[in-house]
């Protein structure tokens, strides 16, 4: 079964967003995304300080048989990246919502934030894709 925490926000492209307070957000890929990709072997993250734009690709996650762009869910500035994930991409498979986070950003992009899916909407999205 796919794991979907109920306290996160989601995108249609299977990224999750956690609000950390003070306009900071953490971004990762969902359990569904990591399972569809298979064993991750490489992750390319943005540079700290980079300006990212909502809906624009800013990371790459690679498995043996697939490579996928990760689109930034919000516009803002990257404040921190997960170096441990670059060293051990398998964290993205084993702990997609905790150890396997991708990057943090500072954002006041309320418009994009409001457009993100909540738990119920993401569950529905997965159910629809399943068909």
């Amino acid at each position: 079964m796919t794991m979907i925490p109920d306290d996160l926000r989601y995108t249609k492209d299977h990224e999750w967003v956690r609000e950390e307070g003070d306009g900071e957000y953490t971004v990762g890929i969902t359990d569904h995304a990591q399972s569809a990709l298979g064993d991750l072997v490489f992750v390319e993250l943005p540079e700290v300080g980079a300006e990212v734009e909502a809906g624009v690709a800013c990371c790459v996650v690679e498995s043996v048989k697939a490579a996928s762009d990760v689109y930034s869910p919000l516009s803002g500035e990257v404040t921190e990246i997960n170096d441990a994930l670059v060293e051990s991409p398998e964290l993205g498979n084993s702990d997609p919502y905790t150890e396997g986070w991708l990057f943090r950003l500072r954002s006041d992009d309320t418009e994009a934030l409001d457009a993100l899916l909540d738990f119920d909407e993401y569950v529905d999205l997965l159910a629809a894709e399943e068909d």
């Binding site: 064993d39 072997v41 490489f42 498995s63 043996v64 048989k65 991409p89």
Partner: protein
């Protein structure tokens, strides 16, 4: 054992190199221009080399040893005579800049190949220089770009590609500076015409199509598609990967295509060589003649053959190789076409289709699901193991690996991407009914194994030089070059 493991430092194997002292001869060069580090090449005897690589060769499946129903790749018999004649010393020792009086025999053969390819494709001009299918695609899309640019029509920034297309299509469009827009496939396997209509506009430079498509079916609305794209000011590109299915029966030029490439290593049976070399000759209709990549072989009124270069084709998209592409491959294709002749071409399509449709019909009877069961197969067809993956947990990859144990090369797996758990099966015309029946037996056996002993299938292969290999380890702990301890 790697070849390096046989190496013994200081072994003198000199019989194949000049009997000189390199140190003495090189002494007059400035010291800072010379190599200082030790060169890591094996120091082995000629016999060790011959034995090592002969034994490596035995670890391969090949057409000469196994049925190889690899969809989209046209793995048919490569006649030995094509190799022998292409390796005549007169051809092998021919310098590409040899003057015309020392080149007429070779140029005549290449010229005649151009003419034959023109006829089977229905195009107006051919350039033989592209060195593989993907380079043919590059040449084709670059010509489309040059055509629009010459007309000052510079707002066309998008190339359309069906979602079932080979990955080379979108990758090529990007290399030519285009954006790529995917067109979905309709339920019956043809292009979704409504989606195409919606996508067409003044920003569309052209569309890249394979016909029969990578789904193995003939695009029945090709005329309508050609009209729609042309009306929108775009051009049509034909990816010749599946030309074996229609050779001598129908021609891309007659379907309305403006530019095509042909994979001579598929349709015209030059060897795949474990990954190449190929040859991806391009053909064009009248509109694109001025843009053909050079050189092209010309023939003047005195029946003298010559190289047509930027001088004769000033708007050419230019040169894609150091010389003239893979000439040795072109000669093999020429010999093959002469051996088959006029009557042999349509026979290829007939028997390639007969074999594919026979396998498709029989596999259906055995209980396999086809992706497009109501359609006639071209020279290949798509089988989906989605049901088996759900019910027995045996996916397409496991099925493919188990086929190796039964003595058959696996079909293409997981392509086209839009059909889940698929095998793309292309038997080609050179396989006998007996061989096809043995393959059917193996497929039936594996299906039975999947239903009764899934573990057995999932662990396959067992009879190869290695068992299932760890791709994840290979990608994470990169070991691309051997290092001495």
């Amino acid at each position: 054992m790697l070849i390096f493991n046989y190496s013994k430092a200081g072994r003198k194997t000199g019989s194949q190199s000049p009997n000189v002292s390199a140190d003495t001869l090189l002494k007059s060069l400035p010291a800072n221009s010379l190599r200082k580090s030790k060169l890591l090449l094996p120091e082995v005897s000629e016999l060790e080399v011959v034995r090592h690589y002969t034994s490596l060769s035995k670890k391969n499946f090949s057409i000469d040893t196994h049925f190889y129903p690899l969809g989209s790749c046209t793995m048919k018999y490569n006649p030995r005579i094509c190799n022998e004649l292409a390796m005549l010393p007169g051809f092998l020792n021919h310098h590409p800049y040899a003057p015309l009086q020392f080149s007429q025999g070779l140029l005549q053969s290449l010229y005649e190949l151009q003419e034959m390819l023109k006829e089977v494709s229905g195009m107006q001009g051919i350039s033989l220089t592209p060195m593989a299918g993907a380079q043919g695609e590059f040449a084709g899309v670059a010509m489309i770009q040059a055509y629009h640019a010459a007309r000052g029509d510079t707002q066309r920034k998008v190339i359309l590609v069906p979602d079932a297309a080979h990955g080379t299509n979108p990758a090529t469009a990007m290399m030519c500076g285009y954006q790529v827009k995917e067109i979905p496939t309709a339920e019956d396997g043809d292009v979704d015409i409504q989606a195409l209509q919606a996508a067409l506009g003044p920003d569309i430079a052209g569309i890249m199509l394979t016909n029969p498509s990578t789904l193995g079916v003939f695009e029945r609305h090709i005329h309508e598609i050609a009209d729609l794209v042309h009306q929108a000011g775009g051009l049509l590109y034909y990816d010749g990967a599946n030309m074996n299915a229609i050779l001598g029966k129908v021609r891309p030029g007659d379907m309305g295509f403006d530019v095509i490439h042909m994979n001579l290593h598929k349709t015209f049976s030059t060897p795949h060589g474990g990954g190449g070399p190929g040859a991806g000759a391009v053909g064009v209709g009248e509109r694109l003649l001025p843009y053909l990549p050079v050189p092209v072989i010309g023939c003047n009124t005195d029946n003298q053959y010559y190289w047509m270069t930027e001088q004769e084709i000033p708007s050419s998209i230019g040169r894609l190789s150091g010389f003239m592409g893979n000439v040795g491959v072109l000669i093999r294709a020429y010999i093959y076409m002469r051996l088959l002749g006029r009557a042999g071409m349509p026979r290829i399509a007939e028997f390639a289709s007969l074999n594919a449709n026979y396998l498709q019909a029989k596999l259906k009877q055995l209980g396999f699901d086809m992706a497009y069961p109501k359609r006639r197969a071209g020279h290949e067809f798509v089988l989906t193991l989605k049901r088996q993956a759900k019910t027995c947990g045996v996916n397409a990859m496991a099925f493919a690996k188990r086929l190796l144990d039964k003595g058959f090369h696996a079909p293409t797996t997981y392509f086209p991407l839009l059909v889940p758990e698929c095998l793309l099966i292309e038997p080609t015309e050179t396989e006998s009914k007996g061989e096809l029946d043995r393959f059917l037996e193996a497929m039936a056996e594996i299906l039975h194994e999947a239903e009764t002993n899934a573990e057995l299938v999932l662990g396959a292969p067992y009879s190869m030089p290695v068992q299932r290999l760890d791709d994840v380890r290979a990608a994470k702990e990169l070991d691309l070059v051997w290092k001495a301890d």
